[in-house]
């Protein structure tokens, strides 16, 4: 079995685990959001690479080209990117409000003031 032949999946898995680790391990809320972004970005790559057809051209209709890549996953992931942007925006807005309320965006400081998180 060719382990490196599917290198795009290795990139996806690596990015995903990096993002996941940042979400879990870092104490700063903004860093958590960045980790979350990385996590989502890995899925975008999963979708985009899935649409690739070997030897296929970009999906624009023109004469002389018979094999195209599948454009549908690309379109789908455009929607998912928008969702990701909205999530990040909302998350950052929440961090701003948390910083106003607690004077800190560090998980430990918030814990010390309220044991809720």
């Amino acid at each position: 079995m060719d382990l490196l032949g599917l290198y795009n999946y290795w990139i996806v898995i690596l990015l995903m685990m990096m993002g996941f680790y940042v979400v879990i391990a870092s104490g700063h809320l903004v860093k958590k959001l960045i980790g979350l972004n990385l996590f989502q970005a890995s899925v975008f790559i999963l979708y985009i690479s899935m649409g690739t057809v070997e030897g296929g051209a970009a999906p624009i209709l023109r004469s002389g080209v018979g094999v195209f890549s599948n454009p549908l996953p690309h379109v789908l992931i455009l929607t998912a990117i928008v969702v990701g942007v909205a999530t990040t925006a909302l998350g950052l807005a929440l961090v701003v409000r948390i910083k106003e309320a607690y004077g800190s965006a560090e998980e430990e400081d918030i814990h010390r003031q309220d044991d809720s998180l």
Binding site: L36, L46, V83, L117
Partner: protein, 492 residues
Amino acid sequence: MIREHLPVLQVVLPLVAAPLCLLLMRSVWAWLLAFIVSLAALVISIVLLREVYAGEVLSYAIGGWAAPWGIEYRVDAVNAFILIIVTAISVVALMFAKTSVAQEVAGDKQGLFYTAWLLCLTGLLGIAVTGDAFNLFVFLEISSLSSYVLIGLGQDRRALTASFQYLVMGTIGATFILIGIGLLYMVTGTLNMMDLAARLAVLGDSRTVQTALAFLTVGIGLKLALFPLHLWLPNAYTYAPSAVTVFLAATATKVAVYMLLRFLFQVFDASFTFGAMPLGGFLAVLAAVGILSTSTVSIFQDNIKRMLAYSSVAQVGYMVLGISLVSSAGLTAALLHLFNHALMKGTLFLALGCVAYRLGSVRLGAIAGLGQRMPWTMAAFLVGALSLIGIPLTAGFVSKWYLILAAVERGWWPLVVVVIAGSLLAIIYVWRVVEMAYLRPPPEKLSVTEAPLSLLVPTWLLAGANVYFGVDTQFSVGMARQAAALLTGSSG
């Protein structure tokens, strides 16, 4: 003419009304619009239910693009049942919201509040009605993002951290679902659920399909608050505004249960999910541990809202338990409990909202002697609590009875013990509230009066429904049975 467009109107109506709400910044008008739209959605879902009641399936092609290519909206007995629950709860919770939100949310934010509410309703209805897997993900995110906003509008600053925590876990869950859908697309090349089911049946088992199932189950499990993925739920429910807690507790997890059912029984074949993959036993163990552990944690809560939030995780356990039995009786019980739990938790959180309105606190210590001072509120709480325990003549009894029957039918006796033990634990935590409210004298200087009628009417509406559906089970059991038959039939 308009009749054939009802499935899509159900979703489009609140979606279009949401920005309108934003323009009507004056809070009363925004509320009125949200209320009217919810009412219209309820009427539509009743009409849809009547059409599919006889077992018919309505299919609607968005923009006229035929099914496997375009997005299909599909209404059958299963999601018509869910639509009724979501819209009815939205109407009742909005009746309550007018007075409650006026007190709990700042005046200039109320227009935004109702905008987020309508978007959340759009998302929840969309998840229920769509027949397209990717469309489901989009609606899931619409409902999730707006529910983070709604939770973050709570008075306590801990509402913000609760909302952030939910955002992180919810996004991970939704991304898992996205991965699952992507993997399914990879092997089948389609996103339409019916088409997926047909092609997966031909393709059979493969590592990709197994992975897709795993990602989807974990992702939906996060949104569902299935033990041990429930950590976001207690804080979110505790610190959200009262009306939001009612709305989310009675609808959001229910819609997640619906997603689970659709994927496990229809997209994947039940013989694959529960035969080739050992998901049945897995879910049963998680549900059983969840019921016992979170019910026990409930007993030690000082904040009543938090206590009921933990109890919600346990109730989700009952539904998953019904699913894990993989029989038509088990599914009937799960769907029935889904309906009844919306009623009972709705009633309990509404009654607590009345308490919060008058006292400004829902701590156990604050409600001493409240049975005398707010008799109607506490009586409604009592009705909800009896239903939660599962006393005969309340809705809760009916679904637990069916659940026990389903477990006995499969001969899974330990599960019967779990259900009964869960009910006994519920008696303990509910008793703490009842004792405090009825058997302790009220403090001398406490001068609270009964909650205003605008809060009591919706509360008693749901409390009444608890008793009504405990006695006349024709609608709820009939619907649940038909939906279960549909789910098992297509998989058999």
